[in-house]
């Protein structure tokens, strides 16, 4: 029996009004503007764009403001908005080799073409709280400049590949599968896995990647390269018959270089894991590369050790925080009838047990 129940409308409306008031906080404290969030909480904005799978810093900043800083809720808002947009098409694959790099480091080669460029990083900071910022002394001195020599910044894998020391990146010119158009089906090819990982929850990917480092599907990753910067996005315009640049995105790219003993068909060589994420999001880019590499065990002829990070079904089914939070949080909504039937069942079983005991 399904019983429809009405009610609670006034309570809901009042709850939402109170939420608005709480979101604003103490009115004596200046209100945050969307532009302030976009400029000063840029890494939160980046995370919401990456996991919302929609690049638009102003919208992500607005979502963060509306969600009171709850980033998973903000991601949810962005995903919901995205579904209202008509799709104009797909871009040509971005050329990260032509990136205007803010940051580019390699943990495998000290001296490499293009050099080690630290960029605006938290690395090497002492992680001491800066009370200067609390005292409203947030004005920053201008960053130092040095004459930049325009020179190509080739990918590390490119020069390892010249000697055949690393597997080729593989090819495939066809249209990749799209998670936003067709439900995830397993087994999932690498293109589909990469799409799922790029929009996956950062915390989930971080933990999985960490598990591979601790020995669950150990694959000895080195960060061959990490680069962060801006790349142009080009799209074929049907009205014109040629491709034009339609904008520019900040991206984080990480490629790992992993040990590989070789197999029956392949000589010993390094293998690769790949991470590419919207915005400056290097923790996630590195984690994505580690998990991508762990998921490739089958195509590389490695053993399945039962590690969670190797299990595509486990990883891909649980990586999306909007799906996860939707299912998790739905159990707090009214289940009165379901529970009533459970209650009746337990009472009946208890009554039967008592009768059998002769009590």
């Amino acid at each position: 029996m399904y019983v429809a129940v009405k009610g609670g409308e006034r309570a809901i409306a009042n709850a939402h009004a109170w939420l608005e008031e709480e979101r604003r906080g103490d009115p004596a404290v200046a209100e945050l503007s969307v532009a302030q969030i976009r400029e000063q909480l840029a890494l939160s904005v980046n995370r919401v764009m990456a996991e919302g799978a929609l690049y638009d810093p102003d919208l992500a900043a607005l979502a963060i403001k509306q969600a009171r800083g709850d980033l998973v809720e903000a991601v949810f808002l962005i995903r919901a908005y995205r579904t209202t947009l008509p799709r104009f098409g797909a871009s040509l694959p971005v050329d990260t080799g032509a990136m205007d790099c803010d940051r580019r480091i390699s943990a495998t080669f000290k001296d490499l073409p293009g050099g080690q460029v630290l960029g605006p990083t938290f690395d090497y900071t002492h992680r001491l709280l800066e009370f200067r910022l609390a005292a409203e002394g947030g004005e920053a001195a201008a960053a130092a400049e040095r004459r930049a020599e325009p020179a190509p910044v080739p990918h590390v894998a490119e020069f390892l590949g010249r000697d055949g020391l690393i597997e080729p990146a593989g090819d495939g010119g066809e249209t990749p599968p799209d998670l936003t158009r067709a439900p995830l089906e397993l087994p999932a090819e690498r293109a589909l896995r990469l799409q799922a990982l790029a929009r996956a929850d950062e915390g989930f990917l971080l933990s999985l990647a960490y598990s591979t480092q601790r020995g669950y599907a150990r694959n000895h990753a080195f960060v061959g390269e990490l680069r962060i910067g801006r790349v142009a996005v080009e799209m074929e315009i049907p009205e014109l018959g040629f491709a034009v640049e339609i904008g520019e995105l900040a991206l984080s790219e990480s490629e790992t270089v992993n040990q590989f003993k070789g197999s029956r068909t392949e000589p010993p060589q390094f293998t690769r894991g790949y991470g590419l994420v919207f915005g400056q999001t290097e923790r996630k880019a590195i984690a994505m590369a580690l998990v991508d590499r762990a998921l490739r065990w089958q195509e590389l002829g490695e053993a399945f050790t039962g590690a969670p990070a190797q299990d595509a079904e486990f990883v891909l089914s649980h990586a999306d925080n909007v799906q996860a939070t939707g299912f998790l949080e739905h159990i707090k909504l009214p289940h009165y009838v379901d529970f009533q039937s459970e209650l009746e069942l337990v009472r009946k079983l208890r009554a039967e047990a008592r009768t059998e005991d002769g009590r």
Binding site: D58, L59, A232
Partner: protein, 148 residues
């Protein structure tokens, strides 16, 4: 690609990457806007951005970006298009107008008053950022280890 197409590709790319409101401001400072008819009024949608596995391998879908596009026709029949990142309809309108006008005898004036300054400002912004990055480039030096 013909050189006319290559020129158009270059100015459309420049307009797409201009800061919000900048191209419209330069256009209005340069000339009165001509009359036009919409072929497609500005609309905001998304474009799926693709990457490649391992930077050079098989393509995959990275995520979408917001894009606003429009098409218009000037009184003389010239058609202008715009595809711009973001959700600004006024910016898309200005970009499509400039795209159309660049195919007319106003091209020289627009090149000088709009596209030239946009290109110079973009070059300067890129130079400044590249210079900050260059200042964080590591210069390694080897420590003397004791033996001869």
């Amino acid at each position: 690609m013909e050189s006319r197409d290559a020129d158009r590709k270059a100015w459309m790319g420049l307009l797409a990457k201009a800061p919000p409101g900048r191209a419209a401001g330069l256009l209005d400072a340069a000339m009165a806007r001509p009359d036009f008819a919409w072929l497609r009024a500005p609309e905001t949608g998304s474009v799926m951005v693709r990457g490649r596995a391992g930077a050079t391998g098989a393509p995959f879908n990275l995520g979408e970006m917001t894009v606003t596009r429009c098409s218009l026709r000037l009184g003389c029949g010239t058609v202008g298009h715009a595809y711009l990142q973001g959700r600004s309809k006024p910016d898309a309108e200005a970009a499509a107008l400039i795209d159309a006008l660049m195919q007319t005898d106003r091209a020289g004036a627009l090149q000088a008053a709009v596209l030239g300054p946009l290109a110079a400002e973009r070059a300067e912004a890129r130079r400044a950022r590249a210079s900050k990055a260059a200042a964080t480039k590591v210069d390694f030096f080897t420590m003397v280890r004791g033996e001869d």
